[in-house]
Amino acid sequence: MLKLEKLTRKFGENIAVGNATIEIPDGQMVGIIGRSGAGKSTLLRLLNRLIDPSEGQILFGDTDIAQLSGKELRAWRSDCAMIFQQFNLVGRLDVITNVLTGRLHTIPTWRSMAQVFTPRERAFAIQALDRLGMAHTALQKAETLSGGQQQRVAIARALAQEPKILLADEPIASLDPMNAKIVMDALRDINKQDGITVICNLHTLDTARQYCDRIIGMQDGRIVFDGTPDLLTTAMAREIYGAEAHEAFNEAATSTSIPAAQPVRELA
């Protein structure tokens, strides 16, 4: 159980996330929606502690994640894997080494400095890649892959961490519909098969409706909606997206619905 208690992050005067209070049970797939700048990314980065909170608590079990530092903080990051809109792979390292960086938390310093990984670790990395259908690229440099392939490698890196929670920050916003569908299917599969909690920032509404058990809507740093997809009315969605509503409902470029197979739901 992940519990946010009045979690707040300010950048100067600007409140990026204000008073966020949510409970997320283990194994849920949560979609966070909202227009650009609503605080979705900040919220996710707070959970992984890539950004420090200004106020409030993040409770996982009995531990307050907001208070962790040093070794314990890194252990938390390892438990709480993250994938990014721009994939954030190390371009000049080969794919398998990128996946193996998911193990860095557990291996001793001398081994990580010398880039020595055990056969067991390598096999584990290959298995993770294989699950995403990417094992054949193991020896290529990450920068030579296409966007969709890079995102699948990034998911394999996250799996190599053996995480309890998987955070995905706009995982499909840089992908074409076909790859977006592959990535979202993979996240859904990881959520169902491994029981890993998945928290996913999504820009488009239909993707959130299609894949998530629960949708959280954010507006100007505040949580304005929290419920199952069927509770999210068109009026509510319009309210959340404001001026971007048209884009969010129809933008085929970042949508997982491939028009030919499945028409975009008409909400507008």
Binding site: F84, G91, R92, G102, L104, Q115
Partner: protein, 285 residues
Amino acid sequence: MGIASLSALDETQVAAVRAEHPGAFGGIGHQIRRWAPWAIALVYVIGSLWYFEIWKLADASERVWDLLRNFVVWRDMADWQYANIYKGIAQTLAMAFLGTLMGTIGALFVGFLAARNVMRIPLLRHVVRRFLDILRGVDQLVWGLVFVRAVGLGPLAGVLAIFVSDLGTLSKLYSEAIENIDRKQVEGIRSTGAGPLAIIRYGYIPQVLPVFISQSLYFLESNTRSATILGIVGAGGIGMIIIERFRASLYDQVAFVVLNVLVLIFAIDWLSKRIRLWLIGVRHD
């Protein structure tokens, strides 16, 4: 009034127009502003040359021809002590290589301490940077003199001089390369729970390594040249041989040594270019 020809203008008409539009004719102030910089530059150059006793050049011309003749007319080539010369060249190369290697290894650590995005404590970063400024601000040749005094004549002084001045320059260049990297890749590694050293090893190093290697190769090249000069102040290598034979007026031998050094520098130039290209090629396979 129609357009008259130029020759039809008389003085009174010119004066009348000048009275009406004084600006178009350029006053005395305008003339001064226009010509003064040239006059000042001319006076400065002539004055300086006079101060540096330029006429000595004319006196020297006879000796210059003598010198040039001695450079190209090679005599008694059998007893030029070639072993000595090539040992000196090898020593110079070894000095440049060892100094650059040590400077590179040192800069690998110091560069990170001086990079804004790695070293988060501003005070420590500034201390490191000012320290590097001192290493860089003093010329390599001066470091050579200092180390000759400290450890005596010989190649060790040269190695240390190259090491110290390269540490200053390479650390600065490295730290700038580090500051220009892609933050996203680092964030990706950080998000896995990797420790600070692992973040540097996997997030930073793969991105900056090609830049580091190419800069160090350039320094190896440049240091082979400057190691020659270091020898002249007594810091070992071929420079020492050059200055000894120069003082003994063995100009033909000096010319021979300088030609050999040129060949060496061309060779290193070519080799390092090949290595650089090979590295870049690997990056885009």
